[in-house]
């Protein structure tokens, strides 16, 4: 795999509400290319909403989210823009139940219009990379939770993203598998140089990350805010 450079993330006074619930209020955050940032906070503090805004899955009600200087959701083709920059890993692996591990990794490549033979080659290389090439032809129901999450990581890397967003990637795993998945994410970030944002309750994520920011009731904790504004 080629090593994609990391993306620069800039969140400028972003706010987001769902109906009468204010999920995120006036949040600003800067993440340097290749940086690994852990985002922590209590349940409902707005961590996942922040990640969704950064990934272009939602648009902010106010403020701006810039990835390498451009707003993904404002791009002429938001899905394409997302595909070219961002990879997602979720708490649940969200693998398509009827497709093999390999075919699941191929799914983003179908979206990118990659030819079949090349899709297959890249999917197998990615499964090799995450250490489960021998399970390539197995269905998700035949994989353990840890294996499934590794397939999800491979899928997130399929389009060689410069920004990897992981939302509670170990939330559904036991401690052994959690360690393995975190090892994998941070190793890949080291090897590929991508920017990594990880939302997690897991305190060990913070120790691996370059920086930890904490959200409280939809706002960055004061210390993080000050740090973010400095630079």
């Amino acid at each position: 795999m080629s090593a994609p450079a990391g993306a620069e993330v800039t969140v400028e006074r972003a706010s987001k509400g769902f109906g009468r619930v204010s999920a995120l209020r006036d949040v600003s955050l800067s993440v340097s290319p290749g940086e690994a940032v852990a985002i922590t906070g209590r349940s409902g503090s707005g961590k996942s909403t922040l990640l969704a805004l950064i990934g272009g899955l939602e648009q902010p009600d106010a403020g701006r989210i810039l990835i390498d200087g451009r707003e993904l959701w404002r791009a002429p083709h938001p899905a394409r823009a997302r595909r070219e920059v961002v990879g997602f890993v979720f708490q649940r692996h969200l693998l398509l139940a009827t497709l093999s591990a390999r075919a699941n990794v191929e799914v983003p490549l179908i979206g990118a219009g990659v030819h079949r033979a090349e899709r297959r080659r890249r999917a197998l290389a990615l499964l090799e990379e995450v250490g489960i090439a021998d399970r390539a032809d197995h269905l998700p129901s035949e994989l353990s939770g840890g294996e499934s999450q590794r397939v999800a990581v491979a899928r997130a890397l399929a389009n060689e993203p410069r920004l990897l967003l992981a939302d509670e990637p170990t939330g559904a795993l036991d401690s052994t598998n959690s360690e393995r998945v975190l090892d994998l994410l941070f190793r890949l970030r080291e090897e590929l140089g991508m920017t990594l944002l990880v939302v997690s309750y897991d305190s060990s994520v913070g120790t691996r990350a370059d920086r930890t920011v904490t959200l409280i009731d939809g706002q960055l904790a004061a210390a993080d805010e000050a740090l973010s504004q400095r630079g």
Partner: protein, 368 residues
Amino acid sequence: MFAIIRTNLLRRSTRTIFTASGIAVGVATIVALLAFTQGLKETAAGFVNLGGSELGVFQANVSEPTASVLPESIVARLDASPDVAHATPLLLLVEGVKSDASAIVFGADPAGFFTHNLVLTGGQRPATGAREVLVGDRLAAQLHLLPGAVLVIAGHPYRVAGIYHSGILFEDSGAVLALAQAQQLTSRPAEATDVVVQLAPGVRASVAARHIERSFPGTQVITDPQQALRVGANSTLISKAILVIVVIALIVGAISVTNTMAMSVIERQGELGLLSTVGWGPVRVASLILGEGIAVSVLGAAAGLLFGVIGGSLLVHALGVSAYVSPSVTAWGLGRGLLVGVAIGVLGGIYPAWRVTRMRPLKALSAT
């Protein structure tokens, strides 16, 4: 993409089968009726050129051409028309030969061009007034008849005087009786089913047809098979019924596919949201849904084509016209069935596909 469509349909195989079955019934009905209509058309084509005629005069507004009744007296008046070179009456007996129900017995004037144009391959023409019949070579071969044998028509024995060949399927698969004997046999004195006409040199059939219909109110002249098909009210009814069934099949099929795909979209919100998250554009995700709708419909249509071919044969028996109508399945008939199937898929898939394009990825993902 095709692999995903295939697996999605297979994982809900019962639903797929039921939806496809509904479409199959609609398509089968269309194909069967088209095959039947085509058979009617071919039957009609055979009636148009009986005896080497260029047009046929029938009673207007009858259920079928064979149900036409004309007074024999019309023949002399037709013969006197400047457009007409020769006119001769025919009385058709359908299902008159019990040993071969598909054989038609033609009651024809022994002096008319219809009888005169028959080329004898064996035996001789019937003697005047004798209870004798000419038999087409196809029918003779089928019933192993030779000159001198006996053919029973409407319960009455007739001696086979000769075997003929005309090159026209209906004639060669039937028999020719003197008109007077046919009239006696059917208790229809001085009546004919139709009058076949050879035109005077240089006269166009369409022009002559207009003149004849104007001069003989209550008649309808047919000059080509398509027109012959329109003579029969049943044929017209069937043509209209096909149109109605096509529209109903499209509406019901499309609603069925819409329902199936809409349910599928609701159930698979998470999956579709994921596709969007990993970079599938709205058009591609919508294409997946539309593709699944079309695939179900094509599956149904394929089954429908098969059932339609079988159904065509059943239909002619059910309508009691198997004696002289054979369902004819054409590539165009099958193509139209398939076209209806694809149209159902497209129409039925549009709304669910549109809904997918409006889906917000985060909301869809949270629905899992």
